[in-house]
């Protein structure tokens, strides 16, 4: 092993052994102007904006919160940022056109490579690619079960949810769903997932053990084109980013009855929640804003101007 590598590894080790205090910040990628907006979690004002790289989209945190990952799609990389000092620490190659990714409880990063019809897993510490998995065309959303045993990759043009077993990295189910599946999320027990399909405008509830769709429904609006989906704290409700309907749909998780439609900015795609699930943040792409929703009242409590075409959002808490 080269001396330089040893140095890097020891630096990584030392860095990781210091558990980072969560800053409460909200980080937002702005796809069009190549920046990362940093929002103060207490005041909900923009703290600063960082030049991050070309076409930043997917965003996520390491399990211990010590590192922030940003997919800079046009550079084919994931950029690693210190969420406290906001310094760029390093990059790693993440395959062709990385768009969305999810971080496994073991720290590995699972990426969808839209151009290549592949999903790949990386060790973000070393940048080593661990595995490549052939999936359908235009893989998009990536979700990992809390127990770490399954990864869902949605392929938009092949209209499937691919359920990948971990650590085997074999495909357990290929589930044909509505047109252009975009995103998915798991329940706490890991045996149910919720997913969205953009063009068919649907949400669905899927049994992870059988690979069967248990329930599906429209999202109540022709222009809905749903994207991100998240569960409330008690998992009785799902929040769906309603795309060009410019609303967040609050739906009963068991019946898919629409409980409320919360007006937000234009073309809402990204969603993130605080750990206590009391606040929900949305990226409103065309408006260039982040809306903050109080999940007790299901009302917008603040609209924050960010960069051009905000895409992904994550909370460091």
């Amino acid at each position: 092993m080269k001396f330089a590598n040893i140095l890097i590894l020891s630096a990584v080790f030392i860095f990781n052994s210091v558990s980072a205090e969560p800053t409460g910040r909200i980080f937002v990628t702005n796809e069009r102007d190549d920046t990362l907006t940093v929002i103060n979690g207490n005041t909900l004002d923009v703290e600063t904006t960082i030049e991050i790289g070309e076409r930043p989209r997917g965003i996520g945190l390491s399990p211990d919160g010590s590192e922030l990952y940003v997919a800079v799609s046009e550079e084919n990389k994931i950029r690693v940022v210190d969420p406290v000092s906001l310094k760029i620490l390093r990059d790693f190659e993440a395959g062709s056109d990385p768009e969305t990714f999810a971080v496994h409880p073991n720290g590995n990063v699972y990426v969808s490579n839209e151009d290549e019809a592949k999903a790949s897993a990386f060790n973000p510490k070393t940048g080593e690619m661990l595995v490549e998995i052939q999936v359908g065309l235009e893989p998009e959303g990536v979700a990992i079960s809390p127990d770490g045993k399954r990864v869902i990759v949605t392929s938009e043009s092949t209209n499937m949810l691919h359920v990948i077993k971990v650590p085997e990295h074999t495909i357990e189910h290929n589930i044909l769903v509505g047109s252009r599946p975009r995103a998915a999320t798991f329940t706490r027990t890991s045996d149910i997932a919720y997913a969205t399909a953009e063009i068919s405008g649907e949400v669905m509830k899927v049994d992870m053990n059988t690979g069967k769709v248990l329930l599906k429904a429209g999202t109540g609006h022709e222009k809905s084109k749903p994207k991100d989906v998240l569960l409330s704290k008690d998992e009785s409700v799902i929040y769906v980013a309603g795309g060009r309907s410019n609303k967040v749909k609050v739906m009963d998780a068991n019946t898919f009855e629409i409980i409320k439609m919360i007006p937000v900015g234009k073309r809402v795609w990204g969603l993130a929640m605080t750990k206590d699930k009391k606040k929900l943040f949305t990226t409103d792409g065309v408006s260039g804003t982040v809306s903050v929703i109080d999940t007790d009242k299901n009302d917008v409590i603040k609209t924050i101007k960010v960069g051009e075409f905000p895409w992904g959002v994550v909370v460091h808490d």
Binding site: E114, D115, A117, Q134, G136, L137, E138, E156, S157, T158, N159, M160, H162, I171, N174, L176, S179, R180, I199, S200
Partner: protein, 271 residues
């Protein structure tokens, strides 16, 4: 010794047979035939669609094949065993094909004639837009931008929305040229047919024709659910191009009357 060999051979055939039976029991095969010029971009679109169909098919045990024949060979070719005929031929050859194979979907990837739509041939499916669809799109845009001389197209290599960007990238990577209207029409025909096979397991031609005409919900990377008119024309968004740049989409917002996709082209059949 001899008995042993016989036994081994028997086992070999038994195992081979079991394996084959298992594959054929689970695998659905669907065959397309393309009739037309081998050098046309429509054929490249068809090949792109086929590649994508097989990529999807590998997850569902479905396999798609393509035969290519020139229009000169039409009369002698046996068209049985295909799920659909894809054509980039002259209008007379096209009409002849539709009438000699009345139970098969016969896709038109190249002819823009409006009268052909108005004939409402039951098994004719036009994924390429008609002339009238183009002129209607241009008129709508003129109402908004009086000085513009933009021309309407079905597709453009610079189209990015609705993941059109991804399709353009894939096509260019595989075929080294930009995707055009004919290539899109070829890709769309294969894609909607293979999507139907994937969803319904339909491999019978008349059932396929019915499904495509009655139940189709197709995205086509143009952002909306497309389907066929009674005329056999695929309803679709058009792009307005000026100086090789996309300046607008038609139906033009604020100009076209809803249902907006039907503001483009002929709707009714001739008496």
């Amino acid at each position: 010794m001899f008995k042993n060999i016989i036994l081994k051979i028997t086992y070999f055939f038994m195992i081979t047979f079991i394996c084959l039976a298992k594959v054929s029991a689970n695998t659905i095969e669907a065959n397309f035939v393309y009739v037309g010029d081998e050098g046309s971009s429509a054929l490249l679109g068809v090949k792109q669609g086929l590649k994508e169909a097989n990529l999807q098919g590998q997850f569902l045990n479905q396999k798609y094949n393509l035969d290519v024949i020139s229009s000169a060979k039409v009369t002698e070719h046996d068209f049985s065993g295909y799920i659909a005929i894809l054509t980039a031929v002259d209008i007379n050859t096209y009409k002849a094909l539709t009438s000699t194979h009345p139970d098969m979907p016969v896709f038109n990837l190249s002819i823009n004639d409006d009268d052909l739509r108005a004939e409402c041939i039951n098994n004719a499916l036009h994924t390429i837009p008609s002339l009238r669809m183009k002129s209607d799109a241009e008129k709508q845009w003129k109402k908004k931008e009086t000085d513009s001389d933009a021309r309407a197209q079905a597709w453009h290599h610079d189209f990015k929305k609705f993941a059109a960007r991804d399709l353009n990238k894939r096509f260019k990577k595989n075929h080294k040229i930009e995707m055009d209207d004919y290539a899109w029409a070829g890709w769309a025909a294969v894609k909607m047919t293979s999507d139907t096979v994937a969803r319904t397991n339909i491999v019978n031609t008349s059932e396929m024709l019915n499904y495509l005409k009655q139940d189709l919900v197709f995205d086509g990377q143009k952002g909306s659910n497309m389907n066929f008119r009674e005329t056999g024309q695929l309803r679709q968004l058009m792009l307005l191009i000026e100086n090789n740049k996309i300046v607008a989409e038609a139906p033009v917002r604020g100009v076209a009357k809803p249902p907006t996709l039907d503001s483009l082209g002929t709707l009714s059949c001739e008496k």
